[in-house]
Symmetry: D2
Subunit: 367 residues, 4 copies
Amino acid sequence: MSNTFGSVFRATTFGESHGGGVGVVIDGCPPRLELSEADIQSDLDRRRPGQSSLVTQRQEADTAEILSGVFGGYTTGTPIGILVRNTDAKPGAYEHLKDVYRPSHADFTYNAKYGFRNWTGGGRASARETIGRVAAAAVARKLLRVGAGIEVLAWVRSVHEHVAEVDAATVSLDDVEAGPTRCPDVAVAERIAEAIEDARRDGDSLGGVVECVCRNVPAGLGEPVFDKLDARLGAAMMSLPAAKGIEIGTGFAATTMTGREHNDPFVPSVSGVDVRTNHSGGIQGGISNRADIVFRVAFKPTSTIASEQDTVTRSGEATTLEAKGRHDPCVLPRAVPMVEAMALLTLADHWLMQRSVDVLAPLLELP
Amino acid sequence: MSNTFGSVFRATTFGESHGGGVGVVIDGCPPRLELSEADIQSDLDRRRPGQSSLVTQRQEADTAEILSGVFGGYTTGTPIGILVRNTDAKPGAYEHLKDVYRPSHADFTYNAKYGFRNWTGGGRASARETIGRVAAAAVARKLLRVGAGIEVLAWVRSVHEHVAEVDAATVSLDDVEAGPTRCPDVAVAERIAEAIEDARRDGDSLGGVVECVCRNVPAGLGEPVFDKLDARLGAAMMSLPAAKGIEIGTGFAATTMTGREHNDPFVPSVSGVDVRTNHSGGIQGGISNRADIVFRVAFKPTSTIASEQDTVTRSGEATTLEAKGRHDPCVLPRAVPMVEAMALLTLADHWLMQRSVDVLAPLLELP
Amino acid sequence: MSNTFGSVFRATTFGESHGGGVGVVIDGCPPRLELSEADIQSDLDRRRPGQSSLVTQRQEADTAEILSGVFGGYTTGTPIGILVRNTDAKPGAYEHLKDVYRPSHADFTYNAKYGFRNWTGGGRASARETIGRVAAAAVARKLLRVGAGIEVLAWVRSVHEHVAEVDAATVSLDDVEAGPTRCPDVAVAERIAEAIEDARRDGDSLGGVVECVCRNVPAGLGEPVFDKLDARLGAAMMSLPAAKGIEIGTGFAATTMTGREHNDPFVPSVSGVDVRTNHSGGIQGGISNRADIVFRVAFKPTSTIASEQDTVTRSGEATTLEAKGRHDPCVLPRAVPMVEAMALLTLADHWLMQRSVDVLAPLLELP
Amino acid sequence: MSNTFGSVFRATTFGESHGGGVGVVIDGCPPRLELSEADIQSDLDRRRPGQSSLVTQRQEADTAEILSGVFGGYTTGTPIGILVRNTDAKPGAYEHLKDVYRPSHADFTYNAKYGFRNWTGGGRASARETIGRVAAAAVARKLLRVGAGIEVLAWVRSVHEHVAEVDAATVSLDDVEAGPTRCPDVAVAERIAEAIEDARRDGDSLGGVVECVCRNVPAGLGEPVFDKLDARLGAAMMSLPAAKGIEIGTGFAATTMTGREHNDPFVPSVSGVDVRTNHSGGIQGGISNRADIVFRVAFKPTSTIASEQDTVTRSGEATTLEAKGRHDPCVLPRAVPMVEAMALLTLADHWLMQRSVDVLAPLLELP
């Protein structure tokens, strides 16, 4: 469904960049989870604009209000409604976009689809839409931590041609949050920060790659055949604004390896079965194998740029456009919590789904 | 849902590599579409094993029987059941896999998930599972052609280090089907065929990239925010056996471009609005923009190889395994119709979905 | 899905009787529908408490705020978030219910399900939950009226032993809204009002039957086999608080008729095919046949009563309970807009669904 | 979804009364359940035609073949495909129905919906469609018995004006299967058998009521608010051919009781909390309360009768019709396994759903 993600842990988001607010209804969160607005706010704060000079200067507190589903500090099992008000909305600043399409933005396609569009700040196609996702994912994060010890962490792996060296097995949240770029390789982070500042000054924008690791995921998550864990992660990541690609484990580079090189040998371990290498990225046959799940998401350069571009008007005449308004010259730093959010929502859903698969295990011994 | 793909045009597949058969139930195909078993058989024939020396030597006629949903040569709007019997099943040939996990195959993860697995020929994790998808997609193909003139075509872009030069705008089905590799670049196709033969002789396997173009897709398909057309294509492709990555348009290469380079300028055209370049791959804001939809899928080398590999037994002891049985040294040639199938299922679903969005357009004029 | 109703026109509700508020997210409403808060408020006003001495004295303005999905007075096709704040919440008034189960209320079962419950005012099991439904249905009502001319009207057919004579073919909204009972038979309405006042004074409660007619529904709505229009109406009505039965057309009385008596003969008409009688209640084979859809819903007497009753505590000890707080001695008058709401949501969903069935009709002539 | 029932335990059915066959794909059945074709056949045998002179004389063995999802006698967790071939199909016998609508049958409405219909034997609207449901429910029955000790039993409570006295708490399968009417009240059963024979001779048909009890259902099943257990049962039962009403517990009779009379007092019991009466029919607030779930379904008289009736042709001209072909003069005896089937599918789904609600219970103690 269009604005709902998940089958068991279901997040339905709503809201545009301008209007009463944005938010989410979470349906299917188990009862008895200790939850407060502080649990949600910390992730929202990592996503919000105005954190540094590298990102959009829109000023939003992005304060979350829990409307329902929590009683006496615990989830009740009923829908958790969360609302974040829009405060720094300047609809007038977008008047010049009313009748013209920004190249590579969603202006033209929304108009083609709906015969109509909300032209203030991108409407539903604004990155502001992801607030609902991040809020829901903060609940998923707590559920997965408390229920299964699962941790999800993402970081900026590259911006433009600057590629970081990061060890997915050991990188920490502190490493990621050490600087405004969210690139844990300090030297590369510096070059990235400069490149983003240069792009902003130049009225241009940059893309890059976010990498993500999911640790302590039990073996067995993922549903063959269409809801394979990697298929669901694929949908989750490709649903993010500006995402144009995803690869799991060795990914595209695996296409130039042979089977002997790429296969991950199994080895005995004290806690069961381990893999000696992890080219599979923790997923085999669409199901988690207990190794770290590792994947990368490609983000194109921001389409809204402060440079003159050729385009057409709603009535089909050629024109040029130079975007005004506030925007990110590079979405990568703020994409990090969004990638984590979609991974968390995916894992929470699959972790709960697996309960109904396991149901006969304690009852029945196979011969 | 696990074994169902789609919201409006829904394909529910079933079946393992060994057992009574494999098939699909299509729910939501509109009535009045002329349909016969011949429409389905042509796509199944492109998918089936034993077509050439490059693929698995299992011999299966893969004959489709329509069980329901068609009357007097036309679809009735009720579920279309399609069954393909298994005939060349040799369960005994897999006895040596009963208690040991093939590295990077789904053996271990299925066992972890279900506490149990069908060890004959890969069970549900066999590529034979895709028969139901291809059969359903043959119906989608006809629906999209008759209803909207949409065409979907895929080909092998690379195997191992051999990368073809193919013009997505002009390549034809005849070009693709000219040789057993399904690579339309004749010179590269020859090198690919040799490389696959070498890998087979060497007990090894190869991966590669399939590229796909969807032509004549109207603007407006794709549902924000979680069912963006690229998100759904992402899920669709990542659900294929051995798929490890997908990228739309310029994809990962877009991460090293700037916004000025990557943005696709709009230009007026007789039939509406066109794009001058197509870095977006036909999708902007998750919605089709009338340009060709172009994407690439990465397939890892086949995990089942005829070489000795380290692994463990079900009881957790170290052992070695040399796979027997029939398998593809490279899935790429047969992955081509599978990629097309998933694109067709995705587009049919979104094309039908858009009907309920358009509903007020003929009635209401906006001011 | 638990808190989502519908497949194409989807309403996801949230909220408890006490807490930040209640509301709904509507996903799938077509774009270009003129919509304002006034469209929603009129239906909410018919549902809200405190309208007369016959219903609960809780005072709530129940003012709807549209948070998203409407721009410039028209729907945009993106999710419509609607919020109604709780204002007259008195959580302290329910302290005596914290550790004891009200007989035939949801207290015990929520506790059994969730291991925990929100004991203030019924929590999610409060009739206040239906605000989200009524708000969403107000949008559905406008869509169906503008798009198809469909009208839905319900009324109180009986309370306790007082059964009204109402002609479903001709009764009007004005007839229904003429008095506080919403029973359009004036003489019976008077007896019903007295009976409800008597029950209140006596610390008791009453049940009854709501009848509903859907007019101008085109033939062809309803999806065989599990989403038959009557099956979906069945689910819709039985999901209402206190509903214990539903019957379509002649319903249970049809079981004592013979086929010759019950069958509705078809007759030619200027506008196509009509039925001479309407024992089927407008639905045959699960699909609408253009006749009025008529059905009845049974509501049990309100379970919360101001009389001493035997019950048990959370720790399993026998006790007695006399409910305090504000409640309806008879839900029937306020159930009328709720029944309409669920019928409207059902019809909007099926009306939109039918678009994807019709898709080839304009293109293809059958031989 | 139209031809799919359930969210976790999902049954997708296909097939018409004439054509290759009918069947079902079950997705979501847990692995490790011992299952063979014999488990399915026993329920199919109770449903099949030709069992006695009271039902249609079509002769069908209705032999079930399991196509997939079972390995070595146990379910694998992958989709269970089940096929039943049509053998006694006589499409020619329906030629006279090609261009004329049987009153109160689905002929006209299918034509209105699809612009087209399969006129052989009712097509998808034939009761033969329920084979897939009964086959899937046989698997659900085994799952619920093995996993939770749940039992479901239905019987004929009335036919026309003959109403049986049956104690829902004690009636057994042997009582029900003692005679061809499936009415366990022997005296009334005799009168029912005579009435059905009379109706057949007279070219007429009869309706009636099936009653059903679900025993040993744990407290806590059912999902507020739209997937209440009674809402899902309502949809399930109203989706059966010829069903026109459902009531839970005291049902419509509850509307003439007062709250004091209707409320079920809670009483302490050794195993937890019990109810002294069961007017609620085992469901309160949409959730099971551990008491027997009891409900009744109204079936109209069979619409296909061997008497002359007024109707119209496809081209809209008045005509008369006297149905030929084989049909049931009263569906009640064969409706019994169908009602059980839909109850079993509903309960299996909710029982599995509850796994993901319970997930934190063993981990977390509330303060």
